[in-house]
Amino acid sequence: MNGANQDPSTARLSRSLALQGRICDPLPLIQSDNPKRLLRQIQNYLVDASNERKLITSPGEIFQLVKLLPPKKRDEFLLEGADKNELHDPNRPKIEREDGCWFHFFIIGTAAPERSKLLLLGYHFEMYVPDENRFFRYDLNSPTGEARENVDKGMRSHLHLNAEDVQLPAPAMTPFELLDFFVYGFLPRNQDRRRIGGHQGS
């Protein structure tokens, strides 16, 4: 990889692109016929989670919070799950987990050449942990304008960890892989795991 003829910065770029290729190319397709169906699949996923009490957001609120941008003639769509709530106001409607963490997301996509599937163009899935005032966010940049350049830099799919200017490489995921993690997978207060980690370290 790092051949003798390559200068170090070219080599770094080439490794970064290889990494990008592994985590983000090709992007996973969304297994859904159309945006409306994807909307309903996501709403139903969240309603089921609410029924299981994994979410304290009620089914009625989920239908209020998860919506599509009214369709235009073009194929692109925008699907939103609650608004950004930038100031982390706990009183705003939100998709909230049983442990008090809350999240919002949006997905940008378009029709895939393959019928009955949708193509991801970008996404933004942010979790906020209110007790510790921390957040993390998975972003998939949209490959337009300057973003194209960033794709080339290997930063299209990344994770923000508690800071807007910290970007860590992250795998591109489907909306349901992200929801699996946001609703079920992420366990910030798994004390047992922390303790074991501590013992191992000492």
Partner: protein, 363 residues
């Protein structure tokens, strides 16, 4: 009925007031007596009431008896009785006929490729090929045998569904000969009758009944703990305690004492609670349900109807001067509560009150 098991009683009440429940409760009590048996039929389940005519009630009661005899003594039926049952069933059971099945759109949607005709047992085609009334008398012997096989002593027929008949003439036509037939066979009868038969010119419809029992909505403003009764009904239907006590109180109040509305409101309130992510149904869930029911009750009302409702709301007075006024009673927008030693009290269905208030307050 216990004292006079061959009498003929009309059970009259508004929509959803609990007539069927009353019938079933009475039936349960009467069959405790050793020498009394009972048979329940909902004529509407058996027959298209639109085409009700002489013979239908006898056919319905007879078929129910055949079923009961079959069930209780299938192996010990003698040949004569078997023949009687067969002959009665042949006369009384709905006929089968070919009907066109031409739903192209339906087939397209379901991707089904049935034949263009299906054979069905069509409700309401009871009268084909012969009119039941033509052979009613000839079935008397069969009926008597079947009746005797099921109940050698007293037999009481609980006949439900006729209260749905909007036409009093139809009701009269349906009951006239059939009740005579059944009485002659020694049956006591309790028959649900349309609420309309209590009013004005329609009263003659009840002339052939020995007793008339009116099932009114439960008056929760009454002094005898009626509110508790409705709350108890809810409690028995809610073994898991999903309804809060506040919800039960509001349900009892907003139902106006109409049992079906009580249950419909409870169901709607439970749906509302679920959508709000609550395990328990609370007062606000019921209030939303009440508003939903009110909006259905307002459907189709004209300005004159609204004026009548406002007058009842403010003054409690209701004089039925037209069929349109009566329709408000028949469709339970107006509820009637009897009062001891006083004229009845009329009230607007309680779910409608907030919107009627708003109508007055808004400019």
């Amino acid at each position: 009925m216990e004292l006079s098991p061959t009498s003929v009683i009309a059970l009259v009440g508004g929509i959803g007031s609990g007539k069927t429940t009353a019938l079933l409760v009475a039936m349960k009590q009467l069959i405790q007596a050793e020498d009394t048996r009972a048979v329940y039929v909902d004529v509407g389940q058996f027959h298209d009431l639109q085409r009700i005519e002489t013979g239908v009630i006898v056919a319905a009661v007879g078929l129910a008896l055949c079923k009961l005899v079959d069930k209780s003594a299938r192996d010990s039926l003698n040949n004569e009785l078997q023949r009687a049952i067969q002959s009665f069933r042949q006369w009384a059971e709905p006929q089968e006929e070919w009907i066109p099945y031409d739903e192209l759109a339906l087939r397209r949607m379901q991707k089904e490729e049935e034949d263009s005709f299906v054979r069905v047992k069509e409700p309401g085609k009871l009268t084909l090929p012969n009119k039941l009334s033509d052979e009613l008398e000839s079935q008397r012997k069969n009926f008597a045998m079947i009746r005797e096989a099921y109940a050698s002593a007293y037999l009481i027929g609980f006949i439900d569904g006729l209260d749905r008949l909007a036409s009093i003439e139809q009701f009269q036509e349906a009951i006239d000969e059939d009740l005579r037939f059944l009485q002659a066979e020694g049956l006591g009868l309790v028959v649900t009758a349309p609420l309309l038969s209590l009013f004005g010119k329609y009263r003659t419809a009840l002339s052939r009944f020995e007793h008339i029992i009116v099932v009114h909505p439960v008056d929760i403003s009454g002094p005898r703990g009626e509110n508790e009764f409705l709350c108890e009904v809810l409690k028995t239907r809610d073994p898991d305690g999903v309804l809060s006590s506040e919800a039960r109180e509001i349900l009892a109040r907003d139902s106006g004492g109409v049992l079906r509305d009580l249950l419909a409101l409870a169901k709607a309130a439970a749906r509302n609670a679920y959508m709000l992510g609550r395990d328990t149904v609370t007062g606000p869930d019921v209030l939303v349900a009440s508003d939903q029911l009110a909006r259905t009750l307002f459907l189709g009302l004209g300005d004159d109807d609204l004026k009548v409702l406002q007058r009842i709301r403010k003054q409690g007075s209701f004089v039925t001067t037209s069929d349109r006024d009566l329709a408000l009673l028949m469709t339970r927008r107006v509820l009637e509560y009897p009062q001891a030693d006083k004229p009845p009290r009329f009230a607007v269905h309680p779910t409608m009150l907030p919107l009627l208030h708003l109508a007055v307050d808004s400019p």
